[in-house]
Amino acid sequence: MMIETITILGGCSKSGDPEPVKEVNLKKGDVVSIVGPTGSGKTMLINDIELFASGDTPTKRRVLINGDEVLEEIRNNPHKNPIARITQHTTFLSDLPVCDFLELHAKIRQDGERYLIKKTLDLANQLSGENILLSSRMTELSGGQTRALLIADAVVIGNTPIILLDEVENAGIYKDRALKILRGYQKMMVFVTHDPVITLFSDFRIVMRNGAMEKVIKTTEEEKKAAEEVKRVDNLLMDLREKIRSGETIELKEVVV
């Protein structure tokens, strides 16, 4: 089945009041952020999406595919689940070389087509900036490389149409570039995030408060322009971080904008 849209129908907040936002539609190719203070229900919202909630979670939300209730067959059969979720805690446990590991996944997923392995590695390397080699062992990867490979593997080999990312922003990833590349894959990407770059490069954002979807803000033209500036500041900080890590000193003129 092709998934063109996902609809979230509002339920109730932590205090039991109806949610201010009654309906949110995500389309194929959309990049969406979920923002809000700690404990406001961001993780809960992506849990509802992952579950295809049908009024059976504490929030009473309902999630539809292409406008229809989700068939039990899809809800209950992990093999048909169209969603990959990556959280702060998600990691690789295997200590195989990267190549063997990806091959193992490709074998059960898409008849082991060899080019998928290269494609996954290329994507991971574009995302992370620190080169991963096919011969590296999974356990030797840095935090940034691990995140990049988790995402690349879910996108290319897992090939699920919906990807949920819960606070995976990480030093070592050029986020604006990563988002541009990921957009090319025409997935629905949902970020739970505190990061201004990811938020402003999204198509729209859902603002959470007290367990409820408080409002939906479509990224304005002005914000899109601002995003370019924010990106410069972010990249500047990232370069500084790199320099400090590699033992260099920082000059004042580098940081005066």
Binding site: N76, P78, T90, H105, I108, A154, I157, G158
Partner: protein, 233 residues
Amino acid sequence: MKLVVCAGPPSSGKTSVLKSVCGKLLQRENKIAYLKIDTQYAIEDEIFKKEFGIPTKKVYTGDLCPDHVNVLILGDGLNWAEKEGADVLLVESAGLCLRCAPYVEGGLGIVVLEVTSGMQLPLKLGPILSLADAAVMTKIDLISQAEKEVFRAGINKVAPNVCVLEADALHGIGISPLVKMIERCPEIVGELRLKGVPPLGVCTICIGKKEIGWEKHFGILRALEGDLFYRGE
């Protein structure tokens, strides 16, 4: 009375899964009793009593094999649950021996496996997996999509007919299908029988002879090379 037997390696998430299940079953007005079988230490009975206010019981098996004890006491367990007014008995086994399977004909057998035990785990399991009605993969929040899928493929290979579920038991994700399976499960009637044949046994090791080497033992034996054979008088 419906009988649900849940097995799986230590710390795989059996209690967490059953807690989610129990909460949802109670919401739907089922009456639950809970029985834990363990070798020497368990606090699950207190947890279930405190959290849900349902009748609970535990059995320590000490030096006996927990799956043997399961066979010996399950009939009494059902009578106890009946007396307590329950209509579903949830049994959490110690699940130490992966060759045995504590599931009962006419009941629902659930095996709980944590995906964090490595991608090859399903291939190492015998009847505890192949005779289950449902296999719940827990801790999916902790590992990559790739390892999760390889793990699931392993289960499908060993037990093609088992219903595989993926759960984050801490957030109650993926548990609802299990609740539906329990509700659809028929009442247990007539004589209770194990689903699988217990492992071959009854040798001098089982009854306490400690010497090493097949020459020192009687019963069904084997050497390093060659097949099983019987040695006895």
